[in-house]
């Protein structure tokens, strides 16, 4: 049996969010991934993030494709609506669902195989359409469920468990997303919960397509010496350059930021993302500058983390371009959709 429900007993003293819910109420089924898997840490980050900004569980739509990462939608927010679809095709399900109801929160969980190989096309086009969703890639450089083949994110020179060395260049989802015009592009590490949680919160609130590429080591097939996606390598070579804080609408910005180091991006509901630059020569709100900066550092073998690029894209969000009403399409009354018998009678004249 691979489905293990978790007992739902919570201690009365557990802290509660604005909805009066505890963290336990944002949990899901027990994970069946390998012990120590990076994905489980990301799952924990999602639980913390959703609880922290008090998302109603039933308003969360959890979408995924196929693979280890895609299984995790069952491991958080069991009160949300999960949809584990087919390999590489989660973005199209997300697009359709989002078109039907623009009011919900959409979180897509994918992997490097799911997004960068079989689903590369759908991943790119979801960005182009600026679907309002948070898209998380749990990136470990290998195919886990089929036992350790290289994925398209494997770096040149990285070594497989059995010794094979990858010769093909990787596809970097961060650069790709920036290239395609995404307005919210982040990179993080499953082991850095402090960085990850505010990123997830900001990504969920960002009104457009938000990508977080999370390096998430595969303890079973890609955590050995010679791998560029191991815990050890990541800790050594991943460098935070910009820290993001998510500040909900109701709350004042209380943290003191040194002059010139912080900039904030206002979201449609009045909440804001505060970006703290850790590198002085870097402007994360400029699309071209962000792209160049990240690319140059990759060329030097440095993987920058944090909210690497953030700018408002509300005007090009899917529903804005489509001119859909504020009321979700799935809630429009039939009378607003059906033109009626008299209209049809009039239309017939065209065909005589």
């Amino acid at each position: 049996m691979t489905f293990i429900p978790k007992p739902k007993i919570s201690h009365p003293s557990l802290p509660r969010n604005d909805l009066g819910l505890t963290r336990r109420e944002y949990e899901g089924a027990l994970s069946t991934l390998c012990a120590g898997c990076g994905h489980d840490s990301i799952t924990a980050g999602i639980i913390e993030a959703c609880w922290g900004i008090s998302i109603r569980p039933e308003n969360l739509v959890k979408l995924s494709g196929i693979g280890c990462s895609s299984k995790t939608t069952a491991y958080f927010v069991s009160g949300g609506h999960g949809f584990n679809s087919v390999h590489g095709r989660m973005p199209s399900i997300a697009m359709g669902a989002n078109a039907a109801n623009r009011e919900l929160y959409y979180i897509g969980i994918s992997g490097d195989g799911d997004s960068l190989s079989i689903g590369l096309g759908q991943f790119c086009h979801a960005i182009r359409r600026n679907v309002n969703m948070l898209y998380i890639i749990e990136n470990n450089g290998v195919y886990g469920l089929t036992k350790g083949q290289f994925s398209a994110s494997a770096d040149i020179g990285t070594k497989a468990k059995k010794g094979e060395v990858n010769q093909q260049p990787p596809i970097d989802p961060v650069l790709l997303a920036m290239n395609l015009g995404a307005g919210f592009v982040a990179r993080s590490f499953s082991g850095d919960k402090a960085q990850l949680v505010p990123l997830i919160q900001a990504g969920l609130k960002y009104p457009g397509f938000a990508l977080i590429d999370v390096l998430s080591p595969c303890v079973t097939f890609n955590d050995h010496e010679g791998s560029t996606k191991s815990y050890a390598f990541t800790r050594e070579n991943y460098e935070p350059v910009v820290e993001a804080d998510f500040v909900p609408k109701q709350r004042e910005i209380t943290t003191e930021y040194p002059e010139g180091e912080a900039t904030s991006v206002l979201l449609h509901d009045g909440s804001r993302v505060v970006l703290r630059k850790l590198a002085a020569d870097y402007d994360p709100t400029d699309a071209h500058a962000s792209y160049d900066y990240v690319q140059q550092h990759i060329a030097q073998g440095e993987y920058l983390t944090g909210l690497l690029h953030c700018r408002p894209t509300t005007a090009t969000e899917f529903h804005a371009l489509n001119r859909t009403p504020d009321q979700p399409l799935n809630q429009l009354p039939f009378s607003a959709l059906n033109p009626g018998a008299r209209q049809l009678e009039k239309l017939m004249a065209r065909y005589r």
């Binding site: 489905f3 973005p91 109801n101 919900l104 039939f334």
Partner: protein, 609 residues
């Protein structure tokens, strides 16, 4: 056959070059006949090309209202030198051949048994019009004028049609009318007009329209309340989506806010298109796509998910000639099996088979009701002939008391009342379970997956739990039979032999039945309108000793589906297969049945003569 018999009963075929504006001339001719109250059919045999390749248009005038090809050409208009040779061969003996005599071609046009009518179309147009493009376009309008004189068409009606078409460009009405008049006058001056084949006013097109199936289906989607349309362009389905967009742009814009009460998404491929449709339906919006054979192949994996995870979806498959890319602008019914069993594993899908544009409209609405009632993808199988040709059919009507059947959906109040919700639990024992939409109520949450699941909605690899759900899906399919549109059954019910057919064959079958009856062969007829097959289909098959299965593909796909999914014995089913890419003609069916009966089986058919 006496000449009188040919009034309002003949076929014209016009051979032109693609991209020279001949479509306007042909539509003009057809519509002016239609507006004279005479039943007419127009079929376009066009190339997969924008400009330069040969193209044909066939107009059949039929006082009896037959809507299929007769299989015979009485008047051939040869406007394409490249295809002269084959076009000349195709005219029936005693027929007429019209050609552009600016360049005489006596050798090629030699036929002693047809009347050759030469009109210097190019020369006249060069003398009267300026500009290369205008001259080419007017040459085609000019042949319409020639035909107007030869067939005795009403010029006022033609002017009226031109005025409607060019309402915003009145200058074009005059220049087009000038070209018509040129041809008209020349014909009247040089030939004895009208020909024995001619039209005479009737009163048989009142309450009728000329519409193509793609347009009618799109209109059905608007009326059914579809809000999310996702697609990838593919001939011959594209015009269905274009039509939806154009209707929705007029009928679905909120008058107060100017907002669009629909979403129209051009996907990156067919896989994404059906994914979006499933996602939208899962989330409670009526959503559809349109495609053709290659798209159905690509959508296979997702259709399997739709079947197993029980997601409504509506898919219009406007069938074209296969296999592979095949002939994209020619017609066939070659996806019957691919649609019924799309995807790996034990899957089967509800299919609807409209026979004409009128049925496309009503079946489009029905498809959404069935998809939501049964929580499964519904495939509506048109073909290029229905989808892209203008058919004469009765006015489309709407009943304002219609309410969409959303099926078993638990809303906020329903969920409030229950203790716990299980997505795949068969509470009503009809195989159909209850569903919920996200964001409605905390108790409505569940997990949708294409992997093995229990009736409670959880993941499983347990054999018994897995089989429970799979067997329930079979029960649901049995329930579906009761909801399917019933077959159309005609005839006396006493004949031993019958025709069984599907979709666009209907027109040709009807005419063939009349012709056969005239020759002493009385057959019953069943037109299948849906899969899975219900009891009415079973009974008809059981009640007849010989069944001619008429369909438009090579491999007898309808016959195969009948033998797989009904109790009928294989040996009773005799195939009449038409798969040239052109719509089946009545002659093909008549010849096929007579040839078979000629082999000493007349007694079986209960035929005396």
């Amino acid at each position: 056959m006496g000449t009188d018999d040919r009034v309002n009963d003949f076929a014209i075929k016009i051979a032109t070059v693609n991209g020279t504006g001949s479509a306007s001339a042909n539509t003009l001719l057809m519509k002016s006949i239609f507006r004279s109250g005479i039943p007419v059919m127009g079929k376009n045999y066009f190339p997969s090309n924008i400009q330069g390749l040969p193209t044909w248009y066939e107009i059949r005038v039929s006082k009896d209202g037959y809507v299929a090809r007769s299989g015979k050409v009485d008047i051939m208009v040869c406007m394409n030198a490249e295809t002269y040779a084959r076009d000349v061969r195709e005219v029936a003996a005693g027929g007429y051949l019209i050609y552009d005599s600016t360049w005489p071609r006596p050798a090629l046009l030699k036929r002693d048994d047809v009347t050759v009518i030469g009109v210097p179309l190019a020369r006249m147009c060069n003398e009267h019009f300026k500009g290369v493009r205008t001259r080419i376009l007017m040459k085609n309008i000019c042949y319409a004028g020639v035909l107007a004189a030869l067939l005795d068409l009403d010029l006022e009606r033609i002017r009226e049609l031109l005025a409607e078409t060019y309402a915003k460009k009145p200058a074009l009405v005059d220049s087009n009318m000038q070209a018509i008049q040129l041809g008209y006058d020349y014909a009247r001056e040089h030939f004895s007009c009208p020909l024995p084949l001619r039209v005479a006013r009737m009163d048989k097109t009142g309450d009728h329209i000329m519409i193509d199936g793609n347009t009618a289906a799109a209109l059905g989607c608007v009326y059914a309340g579809a809000t999310v349309a996702a697609w990838y362009p593919i001939t011959p389905s594209t015009s269905l989506m274009d039509a939806f967009k154009s209707f929705a742009d007029k009928l679905r814009i909120d008058p107060q806010t100017g907002k669009a009460n629909f979403a129209f998404i051009q996907a990156e491929d067919e896989l994404a298109a059906i994914g979006m449709v499933l996602g939208a339906n899962w989330n409670g919006a009526r959503s559809f796509t349109a495609t053709s054979g290659p798209g159905v192949s690509l959508m296979g994996e997702f259709l399997g998910l739709g079947y197993y995870a029980e997601l409504p979806a509506v898919l219009f498959d406007v069938q074209r000639v296969g296999p592979s890319t095949g002939m994209p602008t020619r017609t066939q019914q070659c996806d019957l099996l691919a649609a019924a069993y799309a995807s790996h594993g034990d899957t089967k899908h509800v299919c609807l088979y409209p026979a004409n544009p009128e049925e496309c409209f009503y079946m489009a609405v029905q498809a959404f009701d069935l998809a939501e009632r049964l929580q499964t993808p519904v495939l509506v199988l048109l073909d290029l002939d229905i989808g892209m040709n203008d058919w004469m059919c009765r006015d489309l009507k709407w009943d304002d008391s219609y309410q969409p059947d959303r099926g078993k959906v638990l809303g906020k109040e329903d969920l409030e009342k229950i203790d716990k919700f299980y997505r795949y639990l068969d509470k009503d024992e009809d195989g159909i379970t209850y569903r919920t939409f996200p964001g409605v109520h905390p108790k409505g949450a569940y997990f949708t997956r294409g992997s093995g699941h229990t009736q409670l909605g959880t993941y499983t690899e347990d054999s018994a739990e897995y089989q429970l759900v799979l067997d329930r899906l079979l029960r649901k399919f049995a329930t579906a039979k009761r909801h399917m549109p019933k077959p159309v059954i005609e005839g006396t019910g006493t004949a031993k032999a019958a025709i069984v057919s599907i979709g666009s064959c209907d027109g040709a079958v009807h005419e063939a039945l009349d012709v056969l009856k005239g020759r002493g062969v009385q057959l019953d007829y069943m037109r299948i309108r849906a899969f899975p097959f219900g009891e009415e289909v079973e009974k008809f098959l059981a009640d007849h000793e010989v069944l001619y299965v008429v369909e438009q593909n090579r491999d007898a796909q309808l016959r195969s589906l009948l033998t797989l999914e009904s109790r009928v014995g294989k040996s009773k089913l005799r195939s009449l297969l038409h798969y040239s890419g052109l719509p089946v003609s009545s002659k093909f069916i008549v010849d096929g049945v007579l040839a078979d009966l000629g082999e000493g089986r007349r007694a079986v058919a209960g035929v005396v003569s």
